[in-house]
Structure formats: structure tokens, C-alpha cells
């Protein structure tokens, strides 16, 4: 059996631990002694409505600390005058061993209606995948899709055309929406992570311009640290 030896804590984990401390997320102390040099993370939400009145999450799944798989399904979801959807699913899987690490997440919803028809979509699917080994680490969002999207009465060019990453459209009186929002972090050597939010509505105060709420549909996250 190959034995995993951790010679000190990798710089990437130190950086991630520091990030966690800054954001208020601290690692359980015991984990440091048991961990190998590789780590994975994954999380998916079919939808999140985060407004001043509170946060509601639909079909959320988080990868267990020991790796493996987590999933969540929901037939229907509704927030009055804000959001409806059907067939909501999130699946996240991943694991690390001495050879490498891999994590992948899908998050999806159908028949999406946001803010009483301001944005509608037939099918929303976010795919995030991160992987790494001794050669390096990388992430990608391939397979993510938006089908039949209509924004403020204007359909996308083609029924099955997924917009380019980070496509922003203003929503007068509301704020703006970013379609196919992709955020990649990590140094590509010791760490890599991907967050994909297929529909991300930023609700802004009309006077101050401050973001006061968010509606996210199809949110997939994956991460590896080496």
C-alpha cells in the first residue's frame, strides 16, 4: 500500500485556510492532522433566492468532507412574485487520493420564471469540474447550458444558444442579470476552483445602486487543493 506522507502543510491549503478565517469560515482543528496533501470540495444549488427578507435555497447538496457523493431533488419550487421552477436537482461528487483529486457538480432546474416573467428559461444546467494531480490543477464549465431563455421579453438568438461566459444585461428598475457567470480561482498549480451561476440576478436599490438581493438559478461549485 502506498503511504501518503504530508511534509508540512501545502501553501495552497494555508492560503485557503487564511481565506476561510477572513470570511468567518474556520476549519475544524482536528482536520489538519488527518488530512492528506489533496482536498476536494463541491456544492450545488438548483436555486437560491437571497433577498432582504431572507435566504431560501432549493435542492442544495454539499460534498461530504470524506468525499463521495451528495444529491438533492425537488419537484417544484416557488417564492411568491419572485421565482418558480420545476424538476430541481443538484449532484456533487468527488474524491482525493495520493494520485490526484477530482470534484464535479451539476445543478439544474426546468421551467424557470423569475420576477413574474422578467426572465424565463426552459432548462438551466450548470456544470463545474475541477481536477488536479502532480502536473497541476484546472477547472472548467463545459456542458453548462441555458435553453429557451427570454430576458425582459427578448429571446436569445437561438433556442439552444448558451450565452458567452459572464454575459451581462441590464434590467431596468431591478438591477442586472449575468448569464453563464463563471468565476475561476486558484493558482492552477496547487489549487483550482470553479463557480458557475447560469442565471444570476442582482437586485439593486434604484437610488443608491447598492445590491440588495440576488436570485441565482443553476449554481455549481467545484474545487481541488493539492
Amino acid at each position: 500500500m502506498k503511504r501518503i506522507v504530508t511534509r508540512g502543510i501545502p501553501r495552497s491549503l494555508l492560503a485557503l485556510a487564511a481565506l476561510g478565517a477572513i470570511s468567518g469560515h474556520t476549519l475544524p482543528a482536528g482536520r489538519w492532522e488527518a488530512q492528506t496533501s489533496y482536498g476536494v470540495g463541491g456544492q450545488g444549488y438548483a436555486a437560491v433566492v437571497n433577498l432582504a427578507t431572507g435566504t431560501q435555497q432549493f435542492a442544495g447538496a454539499a460534498l461530504p468532507a470524506e468525499g463521495g457523493m451528495a444529491n438533492a431533488d425537488l419537484d417544484n419550487a416557488a417564492v411568491a412574485n419572485t421565482f418558480t421552477a420545476s424538476t430541481l436537482t443538484s449532484i456533487t461528487t468527488g474524491m482525493a487520493d495520493s494520485a490526484g483529486a477530482s470534484a464535479q457538480t451539476t445543478a439544474e432546474a426546468a421551467d424557470v420564471n423569475i420576477l413574474n416573467g422578467l426572465i424565463t428559461a426552459r432548462q438551466v444546467l450548470a456544470v463545474a469540474a475541477s481536477y488536479g494531480d502532480q502536473q497541476g490543477a484546472a477547472s472548467e464549465a463545459g456542458g453548462s447550458m441555458l435553453l429557451g431563455v427570454v430576458v425582459n421579453g427578448v429571446p436569445l438568438a437561438a433556442d439552444d444558444a448558451t450565452p458567452a461566459p459572464n454575459t451581462r444585461t441590464d434590467l431596468p428598475g431591478v438591477g442586472y442579470v449575468v448569464l453563464n457567470e463563471q468565476t475561476v480561482t486558484g493558482d492552477g498549480v496547487h489549487s483550482s476552483s470553479m463557480t458557475v451561476n447560469m442565471i444570476h440576478v442582482y437586485v439593486r436599490d434604484a437610488l443608491t445602486g447598492v445590491t440588495t438581493g440576488e436570485i441565482v438559478v443553476g449554481s455549481a461549485q467545484s474545487a481541488v487543493a493539492l
Partner: protein, 194 residues
């Protein structure tokens, strides 16, 4: 005196930090986070993966975790955006979600024992009309490298349903071990791409 000067310099920073904390918005669960950390069991052969197969209006999404000690699960979501399509190999029953919570047999298929694993089990399919059905399933999955998109292979089979091909998104990762040989209905569909 030196200590007092430092304290004076720190005061604005402390005040800024306190104001920032007081004004902090409720956390957005969809915001990027740092990964959690795992311990590794090197004795057990395992394969994990997730992603998407095919595209357009007839595709599947999935995730799985299967191990040689007969533990694991799989979620398979068949999407038929045009509804039931008579005669279709994948949409003759319309959209459905299958969850397999058992792994009855697991091993390395003869077609490619280096890259692939095959396993079988039982689970429940849930259809769009709300009906459910218990069924046995067969899976074969292959890790041909990274990224998995366009390379890795998966096959999933139920009674009257079989879908296989290279991933259109996601990744499959095989974790080293010494499994026994095992063949199922999916193993024969493996397409070696390396």
C-alpha cells in the same frame, strides 16, 4: 509611548473592520467557497464522477460514487425536453430521475480493466407523472484522462433503457485499487479512446 502610537494607528483599521462586519450582508450560499478536506482510504478501489452526456433536447446528467466494498450510489437524470418520443432509445418513457442506492457487484471489465469499472445494483426511477418503479441498473465508467469532457466514457442501463458515450461535461476519476473482474450489460458498450 511606542505602544500608544501603535494603538492609535490601529484604531482606524479596527473601526473600519467593525463597520465592515456590521454592514456585512447575509451570506450568499451560491458564492465561491474554499474546498473541504478529506482523508483517503487507499485500500478500496473506487470510482467517482459526474457531469453530462450528450446535449440538445435529449441528454442526461449524472453523478456517482462506487466502491469495491459494494458501497456507493448513483443519480441519473434523463432529460427529454420534447416529452415522450415513441421509438426513441432514450425518451420512450420521457424524462425520469433514477437513484441507485446499492452496489451489488463491482469490478474491472475485461474490455479495459485499466481505465474502466463496471457495477450493478438496484434503485428507484421517478417519472414526470409522479409514478415510480424499482429497477436494477448496470453501469460502466471509464477514466481516460483530464479533462473528462470529450474523453471519459459512461454507460447506464435500466430495463428498456441504455445510454452511453463520451462525456459532454464533467469528469470521471478512477482511484487506484485491486478489484475483481466483473462484466455487465454496460461493459460490452465500452469504447476505448486512448
Amino acid at each position: 509611548m511606542m505602544q500608544r502610537t501603535q494603538a492609535l494607528h490601529l484604531a482606524p483599521l479596527l473601526a473600519t473592520t467593525l463597520v465592515a462586519l456590521a454592514c456585512e450582508k447575509p451570506p450568499n450560499p451560491a458564492a465561491p467557497k474554499q474546498p473541504s478536506f478529506v482523508t483517503v482510504d487507499e485500500k478500496t478501489d473506487r470510482i467517482t464522477g459526474g457531469g453530462k452526456l450528450d446535449g440538445g433536447r435529449d441528454f442526461a446528467t449524472f453523478g456517482f460514487n462506487a466502491r469495491s466494498d459494494d458501497r456507493g450510489q448513483i443519480e441519473w437524470v434523463q432529460h427529454c425536453l420534447d416529452g415522450v418520443v415513441t421509438g426513441s432509445p432514450t425518451c420512450s418513457s420521457g424524462s425520469f430521475t433514477f437513484h441507485g442506492s446499492t452496489v451489488g457487484r463491482y469490478g474491472a471489465p475485461a474490455e479495459d480493466p485499466t481505465h474502466c469499472r463496471a457495477w450493478s445494483g438496484t434503485g428507484e426511477a421517478k417519472f414526470q407523472d409522479g409514478s415510480t418503479a424499482d429497477d436494477g441498473f448496470d453501469v460502466a465508467a471509464c477514466d481516460f484522462g483530464q479533462p473528462g469532457r470529450g474523453m471519459d466514457f459512461i454507460c447506464f442501463s435500466l430495463s428498456g433503457y441504455l445510454r452511453s458515450g463520451n462525456l459532454s461535461g464533467g469528469n470521471i476519476q478512477r482511484h487506484e485499487g485491486s478489484p475483481e473482474s466483473f462484466e455487465n450489460a454496460c461493459a460490452t458498450t465500452i469504447v476505448v479512446t486512448t
